[in-house]
């Protein structure tokens, strides 16, 4: 007897509706929250460096479900992860919310405009760069207000390149394999 492969999870999510779809959105949110929280346990040389594995779930959501539902996942992830880590409504929370929303907007734009020309890795790098740049902008306008903080910008772009590539490859792996 050969076990027939059923439709992949990606296909099931894509075609689901009603309560099942709500369940899948909640499931993806949980995955994103898990990665966001698990990332805080990874030792990093600098506190604001992130791998952005939760971003892989955002990429997966972008390519499987509607934009509005993906946005729910992003916002739910930021709020719930900050509640779990203990940074809710702190400076870090404002920054991560800004970064997540800005990068989501850019990734959504590029994914809907030219997904034939850019793979998920490129879109992920764009999102990571946007996230870091917008966070630095918010830090500079709201909290620090010094020209000095722009010295971080090239380093942040380097981190964004590395982290965006890793999370992009991971998101690509998710889309192709699940």
């Amino acid at each position: 007897m050969v076990i027939e492969a059923e439709a992949s999870i990606t296909e099931t999510i894509r075609e689901s509706s009603g309560g099942r779809r709500t369940f899948f959105i909640a499931f993806l949110s949980t995955m994103a929250i898990f990665f966001a929280v698990a990332e805080t346990a990874v030792p990093k040389p600098l506190p604001w460096m992130r791998l952005g594995l939760a971003n892989a779930i955002t990429l997966y959501a972008l390519s499987t479900i509607r934009v509005k539902e993906a946005l729910i996942i992003v916002v739910a992830r930021v709020i719930a992860a900050s509640l779990l880590v203990g940074t809710f409504l702190s400076i870090g929370f404002i920054l991560s919310l800004t970064g997540a929303l800005a990068s989501f907007a850019v990734m959504c734009f590029f994914y809907s405009i030219c997904k034939r020309w850019i793979s998920l890795v490129g879109i992920s790098v764009l999102g990571a760069v946007t996230s870091n740049a917008s966070q630095l902008f918010v830090v500079n306008t709201l909290f620090v207000n010094s020209r000095l903080s722009y010295y971080f910008l090239p380093f942040l772009f380097l981190f964004a390149l590395a982290g965006g590539t890793i999370s992009g490859l991971f998101g690509r792996f998710l889309v192709k394999n699940i």
């Binding site: 007897m1 050969v2 076990i3 492969a5 030219c114 034939r116 020309w117 850019i118 793979s119 890795v121 490129g122 790098v125 764009l126 760069v129 010094s146 020209r147 722009y150 010295y151 910008l153 090239p154 772009f157 380097l158 964004a160 390149l161 490859l169 690509r172 792996f173 192709k176 394999n177």
Partner: protein, 140 residues
């Protein structure tokens, strides 16, 4: 009957790296753009003004750097009013100030790294910055 695990063992490695169109043209563009931007920012922020002599103007409301190789008239706002700073011929001085003593104007023209002209009542400081400090301190 095939055990369940074999399916996964077979496909994981090739799928992780991706088959078919792994890199699209937009990816190359994105990577090139980001790397170019990073290199540009690195050279701009760290190599560009390393040896340059600059004038640092500090006031309660703002802090700016200016090149000394220009002709410029600055109106620096302070608590008492506007202090007029002039940059000309590689030198800078305070030309007019709303303070009572006018000490800042008497401090004269500054050009060497480390030199300062300060208006304490109006809380305006101009200072020449640079790496090559020709003198340790200036007394007047």
């Amino acid at each position: 009957m095939r055990p369940l695990g074999t399916e996964y063992q077979r496909v994981t490695c090739s799928k992780l790296l991706g088959r078919g169109n792994f890199i699209k043209i937009g990816d190359i563009l994105v990577f090139t753009a980001v790397i170019a931007l990073t290199v540009f920012l690195f050279t701009r922020t760290f190599a560009g003004d390393a040896s340059a002599v600059r004038l640092k103007v500090t006031a309660p409301s703002f802090e700016e750097h200016y090149s000394l190789d220009q002709q410029k008239l600055l109106e620096v706002p302070g608590p008492l009013g506007n202090t007029t700073v002039v940059i000309s011929d590689g030198r800078a001085w305070i030309q007019d100030s709303p303070c009572k003593e006018k000490i800042c104007i008497k401090m004269g023209k500054i050009k060497r790294p480390g030199e300062q002209a300060v208006c304490l009542p109006n809380r305006v400081i101009i200072e020449v910055e640079g790496n090559r400090k020709s003198i340790d301190a200036v007394t007047r």
